[in-house]
Symmetry: C2
Subunit: 102 residues, 2 copies
């Protein structure tokens, strides 16, 4: 499998972020072709040292990195990517990788 991990830094207005993410971004991202599973953090994100710099983390599962790349070449992928700057006011990091269970 492969993961797209999206780490959203704490936004300027967390309530507005949460509302937009739930009502607008999730429906767009769920249309990504090849998406197998979509999980997001529920409640605060923590670290061993205390609160995280990240407000929300999303893990989107696909069959392969190739499928993730293909997804973002589609109209649905372009729409989801173009939506991110509309709400990710704190910045965002994305990590893409194939995985293996150990």
């Amino acid at each position: 499998m492969a993961e797209l991990v999206v780490l959203y830094k704490t936004p300027k207005d967390a309530a507005a972020f949460d509302k937009y993410y739930a009502e607008t971004h999730i429906p767009l991202a769920k249309k990504l072709p090849g998406l197998k599973k979509y999980a997001i953090s529920k409640g605060p994100v923590g670290t061993p040292a205390g609160p995280s710099q990240f407000h929300l983390i999303a893990i989107l599962t696909f069959d392969s990195v190739g499928d993730i790349q293909k997804a973002f070449g589609t109209p649905e992928g372009k729409a989801a990517a173009a939506d991110v700057p509309k709400f990710a006011s704190g910045g965002v990091e994305m990590q893409i990788f194939d995985t293996k269970e150990v």
Copy 2:
């Protein structure tokens, strides 16, 4: 469910990191009480803009953040945590959160 996402920045010696991680750290981390699933990145980690600052990303799944916290209070958890500085020469970030599927 809940995730412990461990992001290892590029180490000084990637081959030595990979060998130590596979031979020593995975066996220690697999002993974490309550661990349900353990997946790691296979091959390079990427970002939409190019190569990632991270060499390896591990996603460890538990039932809850409470279970993750409990795991690191056990001798097995302390041993796994104490092992990380022995190989994570580039630094490491850990993110801990409950999840929901959307």
